[in-house]
């Protein structure tokens, strides 16, 4: 085959994108179309399926737990995002400069990210246990509590301790993203600001944050999507309890699809959740857009 240089270039480009296109098609486009298709059916996990039109979507309006789960998921997202960001930013600031042994600290802060969320959830479940957990041992030894606390068994504390565990688990990832942003800012800008007499907070507000906009946007979007789609920590640490107060939306989709065998209904909920996430991400991109 004799190809001109332009043809070769086009062909090379095509070959480069093919794996990605194939991957996205097989693992995203096709499942998405199937999910949309399923959502219009009464689709049991096994047995006969039947077309039901919009019935699954109408059913959503009557589902008390669905509303509860939506409410819970967004409350959780709103509560877990700020600590991840504030702590992530502080950690990133601490490990920003390339000084001796700084790699050790970066590694320590990042380490929880590389263990699985399932493993970390189990780890925290044991640490929070009322009989053998280390937290209760410390609190009791310091006489801070009169008796062992059932952290995961009380609605008011369950959410807080789960947030604590998730912040520990994910803050390293946000730290890395923000660190990349911090290091992309030229030192000259800070130096000239200092010459002009700017203090720490002025530099933060007028130099650091505006120049990190893209990195913050990326970290925020990834973090919010992760929180809205959270499942493992609730499934493992509380099993949705106490009083079904920690059933996230994905947890409820899982239950309907695989425990109640209502795959069609689960699919309908997934599509609605997808819509919500697209809108939420669009909103974040709009707010954090680069102003020309």
């Amino acid at each position: 085959m004799n190809l001109t240089w332009t043809q070769r270039r086009k062909l090379t480009g095509l070959l480069f994108v093919t794996p990605t296109v194939a991957f996205v098609t097989v693992f995203f486009i096709i499942p998405l179309i199937m999910t949309i298709f399923m959502s219009f059916h009464d689709w049991p996990l096994f047995g006969e399926r039947a077309f039901t039109g919009l019935e699954n979507y109408q059913e959503l309006g009557k589902d008390r737990q669905y509303r509860k789960s939506l409410d819970f998921t967004f409350r959780y997202t709103a509560l877990v995002t700020p600590p991840i960001f504030i702590l992530g930013f502080i950690l990133a600031s601490l490990v920003r400069h390339n000084i001796r042994y700084i790699g050790v600290f970066r590694t320590i802060f990042f380490l929880p990210v590389v263990i699985g969320l399932g493993v970390s959830s189990l780890l925290w479940t044991w640490m929070l246990d009322d009989r053998i957990g280390v937290f209760n041992k410390i609190l009791l030894d310091l006489n801070l509590v009169p008796k062992a606390q059932l952290f995961l068994g009380r609605p008011n504390t369950a959410m807080n301790v789960i947030i604590l565990s998730v912040v520990w688990k994910t803050v390293g990832f946000t730290m890395i993203l923000l660190l990349a942003g911090l290091q992309a800012i030229p030192d000259e800008l800070y130096e000239s600001a200092e010459v002009d007499g700017a203090g720490y907070f002025r530099k933060l507000i007028y130099i650091t944050l505006p120049l990190m906009r893209r990195f913050i946007a990326l970290a925020l979007i990834l973090s919010v999507i992760g929180s809205v789609l959270s499942f493992d920590q609730f499934y493992i640490m509380t099993r949705g309890g106490p009083r079904n107060s920690t059933i996230s939306i994905v947890f409820w989709i899982f239950n309907n699809s695989f425990t109640y065998f209502k795959m069609g209904y689960g699919a309908a909920m997934s599509i609605v959740l997808l819509g919500i996430l697209v809108a939420l991400t669009g909103l974040q991109l709009y707010v954090l857009r680069e102003k020309e």
Binding site: L45, G47, L150, L152, I247, Y260, F261
Partner: protein, 416 residues
């Protein structure tokens, strides 16, 4: 060169011949079997079978709370086990979905078919056809600690027969010490409380479902409220350890073996555990009483069935039939303290003289099992309405809210 040919041929022949036994082994029937994590004698049955038969069974134990989810996923993936020991209450759902092999013809030929535990046979039937036979029989009752009864000045030969008497006994036992409690319940375990709490309602003539299972009667039957108030009192007065409120069932059996619990809801499966592993535990059992007397029990346990799509239906049935034989029922079931699934075999040399086994077995006479295809969604699901209702009423004390919530979510599930 040519002289090598015969040698090569011979070598090839040896290879082929030596591979023959392997090929024969591949023909041997090997079946898979699933059972939920309940201490029935299933492993002993399978071991005995594998030791004496050409066909081999590979047993997998699935955590009880995950059984329906895992079984459903396996069926959907086209990879169900050949044989499944299923919690009897799920059988209607699986049979209705066409996932179990119709074994009506096999059952008809059993000479002892009439003596198989009726609740299990009933749950194993769907539209007049048999899909499962009993394999583990398990009624619920109350187990009590004789030593604690005596220390508290209660008469162990005269256990409580009403809710008030139970409360009195719990108070007396709890008063014995800081670490001693009158009662135990696993209030974060949905199935445990269907098994041991529902009978309190039934024994008082009430129910949470109408007789034809068409609607929920949680708000309309006053006994439901009374029973919730009864358990709420136990919690409020601190007659159970605080940890009971978050126990997901992992301490359902073991809590009582500590020796500091006066009474607890229990099932037959626990008796051999108590007698074998805790010989010092001085216990007896009594039937779960109604508010003013009476008795009821949850007819629980497992049935055994063949999954649709199994390639070894004949052999699977041969195994199932053997598990119900005199040999297996007496020498494996009764010898290990498990109640036989054939009622005429409850009178056996191993149970003779053990009043506890006889009382426990007699619980089956007052045993009752709900028949509904949505049992899991209503009762056993850890996120289902049953457990949430109990927790809101018993632990939070909001009985009105709990009844309303239970009624609404039960109705929603039953209407599909």
């Amino acid at each position: 060169m040519n002289s090598r040919k015969p040698l090569l041929l011979l070598f090839a022949l040896v290879l082929i011949l030596s591979s023959l036994p392997l090929a024969a082994q591949d023909d041997q029937i090997s079946m898979t079997m699933w059972v939920r994590s309940i201490p029935f004698q299933t492993q002993a049955l399978v071991d005995e079978w594998n030791a004496n038969n050409d066909s081999q069974i590979e047993l997998t134990v699935i955590p009880s709370a995950e059984f329906v989810t895992k079984m459903g996923a396996a069926i959907a993936a086209g990879e169900p086990p050949d044989i499944a020991s299923i919690d009897l209450i799920y059988t209607p759902a699986f049979a209705a979905a066409g996932q179990l092999v119709d074994i009506t013809e096999y059952v008809r030929e059993l000479p002892y078919a009439d003596t198989l535990t009726p609740a299990h046979m009933e749950l194993g039937r769907y539209e007049g056809r048999n899909y499962a036979v009993p394999t583990g029989v398990d009624g619920s009752f109350i187990v009590y600690n004789i030593d604690l009864f005596e220390q508290a000045g209660l008469d162990p030969d005269n256990p409580p027969s009403t809710w008030d008497e139970m409360l009195e006994a719990m108070r007396a036992i709890s008063a014995l010490g800081d670490d001693i409690y009158g009662y135990w319940f696993s209030m974060n375990c949905a199935g445990c409380n269907a098994f041991t709490f529902l009978p309190f309602i039934w024994a008082s003539g009430g129910d949470v479902l109408s007789d034809d299972y068409s609607e929920a009667t949680i708000t309309s039957d006053p006994i439901v409220r009374d029973a919730l108030a009864f358990y709420n009192t136990i919690w409020e007065e601190g007659l159970v350890p605080e940890g009971a409120s978050i126990d997901n069932g992992s301490n359902f059996v073991s809590a009582f073996t500590g020796g500091n619990i006066g009474m607890a809801g229990m099932g037959n499966f626990a008796i051999p555990l108590f007698t074998n592993d805790h010989p010092d535990l001085n216990f007896d059992v009594f039937h779960i009483p109604g508010k003013e007397g009476g008795a009821a029990s949850f007819g629980g346990g497992d049935v055994i069935a063949i999954a649709s799509g199994s390639e070894h239906v004949e052999e699977a049935w041969r195994f199932i039939e053997w598990t119900m034989s005199d040999e297996a029922q007496i020498e494996i079931y009764a010898a290990n303290g498990q109640i036989p699934v054939r009622l005429e075999l409850v009178d056996n040399p191993y149970f003779e003289g053990d009043d506890r086994q006889m009382t426990a077995a007699s619980a089956l006479a007052v045993g009752f099992t709900p028949y509904t295809t949505v049992y899991n969604d209503l009762f056993n699901d850890p996120n289902g309405p049953w457990l949430e209702m109990l927790q809101v009423a018993i632990l939070d004390g909001d009985i009105d809210g709990a009844l309303e919530l239970g009624q609404e979510r039960f109705t929603q599930i039953m209407e599909g």
